[in-house]
Amino acid sequence: MRTDTRGVAGFFEDLPVLLLVLAGVSSVALTGAWCTDQQADAARQEGLSAAAEALVRAAVLVASDGGPSTLTVGSLFALEPEDLEVNAAGCVGWAVVIEVLHPVGDRHEISFDGLDDLPPDLGYACELVNAVYEGDMTAVVEVTGVAW
């Protein structure tokens, strides 16, 4: 055991070593913090996308209450926010847009706005379906869901 303490250096007496060690520790710590933030962002984005998909599926299911053959453009346009809001649990706001692509024309929007400005992160989902339109015609309708 060393009894001569004159040769023992204090913690701050070897500054280059201290700086190198601090640089290494900072590198690992900052990278860990950045990675955690990235994964949190990715998880949040996945959640928003899943909510948008749930909104689109719910819109089609609620409108085709009796089965796929009973889906009409009228029943899609009759959807209200109360019919869909349970599928957007956890979202600040959401919107569903129903647009008749063929024959081109009508468009209907259902939304629940939770913010004044559009946020940077959005979940998006879109689906094409066939729906009965004006009698016996089969139309092509695009149902789009956005959640934030």
Partner: protein, 183 residues
Amino acid sequence: MRGEGAVSGQLALMDALVFLAVAILVSSAMMGHVGDPAGDALSFSDAMPHPTVDILTVLMRASLGVQMTVDLGRELALPADTSFAECLLLEARAMLGGADEAAFGAFEARLLDVLDSLLGPSLRGHIHVSVSEDVEPPLVCIEHSPVESLQVSAASQRLSDDGVRTTAILLVEPALGLEPLRV
């Protein structure tokens, strides 16, 4: 002693350098594991707004929307609620029977208009109809111009199995002049 202290100081510096190098390697490995999702390259099919098979399915079930007539020697009326699948099958059978494709010009124009509205301005679609196993050359080609891009997404749907197996094929490519979709 001075000599011993100098040797200890040099060893400590080397240890610190090794520690820094290992720390940088660990940081790089962590960043590589998390990755950058925005840099992942998607295939052309992945970047389309809707899967090609979905577009073909809804298109085939959709109705004409307007009444049309086809001149096959005798005028044949197609009601507005006739599906595009039924019309394509009718055209394929007429062509097998020797009819002129020009007789279906109005129907083909209508089909292309609807397909354009489903795909949007950045994509271009082609409808081919083939019989039996002979995919090339197709019996019916409904398109603005032949396929030009190497990036093509395709889907097929059987229109009929009775007697002659008839298949509709949808080919989707980037519209002329646009770069291939890449993220």
